[in-house]
């Protein structure tokens, strides 16, 4: 465990040394700031059923598709390209420890970027100075639900990024792979669900199974304050499985 902590600290340092991390952070925050602005505009023009935090978090997938590949594509691909993974693995470090450290570092950064978005409602409240609107901006259920969803689903998204980075020595390929997989997982599953294939005995994807994989459904539950254990199981087991595959890839390619 101490070895994972040492590697995690090193990975965090490396993330903070790298310009691409800051670019990812700034771009994501700009994008999310724009979404927050659009959310406020929408609310100001017509009455909405949903609260501002819920509307803002419902667009979670766009920043995810931007942040996760940019944060994770470097992790193993760059080490493999430079060859530093070889020196790393000839020290008494297990591939599992390395994968876990890289995952935790990228995940911590992912959470940090999302945590910074709390500044948006704070700034809005400070600029508007309307106490009755603050109740909506800082609605505890919507805010907590949104952030819990981001934290839980982020484990799977980041692990997918780490996995794709372990597959190749090209950062570009890793980034494209991770973007494609995340897009299929988030948007693709929702699209299949929307097509309403006829379910029956011969159906490959029964509706219940599709519902289980529906990330937007999970988001709806979380934003309503409904904490169900099934999404937790889905994201956490998915994360462990994907990280397990990454370990196998690192072991086999070293």
């Amino acid at each position: 465990m101490i070895q994972v902590f040492r590697l995690f600290r090193h990975e965090m340092k490396c993330l903070f040394y790298t310009p691409s991390t800051y670019i990812a952070m700034v771009l994501s925050l700009l994008l999310m700031g724009f979404f927050y602005f659009v959310t406020l505009l929408t609310i100001s023009t017509e009455e909405q059923d949903q609260l501002p935090p819920t509307l803002f978090f419902s667009l979670f997938w766009v920043p995810v598709l931007l942040i996760v590949p940019m944060l994770t594509m470097r992790s193993f691909a760059e080490e493999r390209r430079l060859g530093t993974i070889e020196t790393m693995l000839t020290a008494p470090v297990r591939p599992g420890q390395l994968v876990m450290a890289k995952f935790l570092a990228a995940y911590a950064f992912y959470i940090l970027v999302w945590a910074l978005t709390i500044a948006y409602p704070i700034l809005t409240a400070w600029v508007l100075k309307q106490p009755e609107f603050n109740l909506k901006l800082f609605h505890p259920g919507a805010l907590t639900g949104g952030y819990v969803f981001i934290a839980v689903s982020g484990t799977l998204f980041v692990s997918i990024g780490i996995f794709t980075s372990s597959l190749t020595r090209s950062q570009l390929v890793a980034g494209m792979l991770s973007f494609s997989i995340l897009f299929m997982l988030i948007v693709g599953v929702a699209a299949i669900h929307m097509l309403h294939f006829e379910s029956g005995a011969g159906s490959l994807l029964p509706d219940t199974a599709l519902d289980y994989f529906q990330i937007f459904e999970h988001f709806d539950d979380f934003s309503r304050g409904l904490i169900d254990t099934r999404p937790f199981a889905y994201y956490l087991t998915g994360t462990l499985a994907v990280l397990g595959f990454s370990v196998l890839i690192i072991e086999s390619k070293s």
Binding site: Q3, R6, L7, H10, K13, C14, Y17, T18, L82, G83, T84, E86, T87, M88, L89, T90, A91, P92, V93, R94, S254
Partner: protein, 337 residues
């Protein structure tokens, strides 16, 4: 048989990558404290062998013991005993030298109290302790980068230090610095390094292993390899007289002597090479004979030692010409196990 003084014992080691056989039936031993040079043309299997020794690359078949432990079963423990600098010496570009060594010391499990001392020692041995210590690795020259790689490999005081091409791309000054560094390591650790600079290997190493096409084609000290691959006694002399007379006189030494006279004299002296294919031919006898030859004046007489380059070329050429089964394993011949 494996004895405690053997740091490494490899028996019938093979490594395949698909259909390609990178290492074939490789057997050798390395004793504790030895400095061993790995030679071979590009693609001979040197780096693959070194990577197998570190445990990072599993062998397809064979038996490999490092520090008395079988590599596949104790790879984690063995990694603690080994310091390794891979080919091309990959280093993180954005870190400072001292930061990198601190991090490496941490993950190598050096206790906190010893960490500082060990880092300072490694930097001192590699002459990084002055200006380079706070430099960003990406801005260092090739020579200094090599030193950082070597400092990392000796950081934890390993029983075995494996350096894959530590002298590649270095200028002569830097090569001399690396030679000095290897000399500093003598007695501290067993060193195995691969190189293409044969003169370096000859100067620095106690033992030389030559590989070609995945096979070990020669092993032993430089003198043993000379005797095996370029047997015989060689002398060069400068003699005054007529070319015909000198040749005739030298031929009278015996049929086992080959005489090669340069027909263009320098300052009235002819340069002549004498070669006897038998090992251990006595130069003193030859010189005594030559001194007594009439009408021939000897200005200089000295033995010629073939350099390692000649041995290397001969050994690798022989392995290309002879099929695998035909190559005698010199290590087995000398050190039966």
């Amino acid at each position: 048989m494996e004895t405690p003084e053997h740091s490494i014992v490899a028996k019938s080691l093979c490594k395949r990558f698909g259909k390609t056989e990178a290492v074939r039936d490789l057997s050798f031993t390395v004793d504790q404290g030895e400095i061993v040079g790995f030679l071979g043309p590009n693609g001979a299997g040197k780096s693959t062998t070194l990577r197998m020794l570190t445990g990072i690359l599993p062998a397809t078949s064979g038996h490999l013991n490092v520090c008395g432990k079988a590599v596949p079963y104790h790879d984690r423990e063995i990694r603690k005993q080994i310091g390794y600098m891979p080919e091309n010496n990959p280093l993180p570009e954005d870190m400072r030298v001292i930061e990198y060594l601190r991090f490496r010391a941490q993950i190598k499990g050096i206790p906190f109290r010893q960490r500082r001392k060990r880092i300072e020692h490694a930097m001192e041995v590699c002459e990084l302790h002055r200006k380079a210590r706070r430099r960003i690795i990406g801005t260092l020259s090739k020579g200094f980068r090599q030193r950082v790689g070597i400092a990392d490999s000796i950081l934890a005081g390993p029983a075995i230090t494996i350096l894959d091409e530590p002298t590649i791309g270095l200028d002569p000054h830097q090569v001399i610095a690396i030679r000095r560094l290897l000399a500093n390591l003598r007695g501290e650790t067993t060193v195995i390094f691969s190189s293409h600079i044969l003169s370096e290997v000859e100067i620095s190493c106690d033992k030389i292993l030559i590989m070609n096409q995945g096979r070990l084609v020669a092993s032993g000290t430089a003198d043993e390899l000379r005797k095996e691959f370029l047997p015989g006694s060689r002398y060069r002399l400068e003699a005054a007289g007529t070319a015909d007379q000198i040749t005739r006189s030298l031929h009278s030494l015996g049929d086992d002597w080959a005489v090669d006279l340069n027909p263009v004299p320098m300052d009235g002296y002819y340069s002549v090479s004498l070669l006897n294919n038998e090992n251990g031919s006595d130069g003193k006898k030859v010189l005594n004979y030559l001194m007594n030859v009439e009408k021939m004046t000897i200005r200089s007489f000295h033995p010629i030692r073939p350099n390692l380059e000649d041995v290397f070329l001969k050994a690798t050429r022989r392995s290309w010409e002879v099929p695998a089964e035909g190559i005698p394993d010199s290590s087995k011949e000398r050190k039966p196990e």
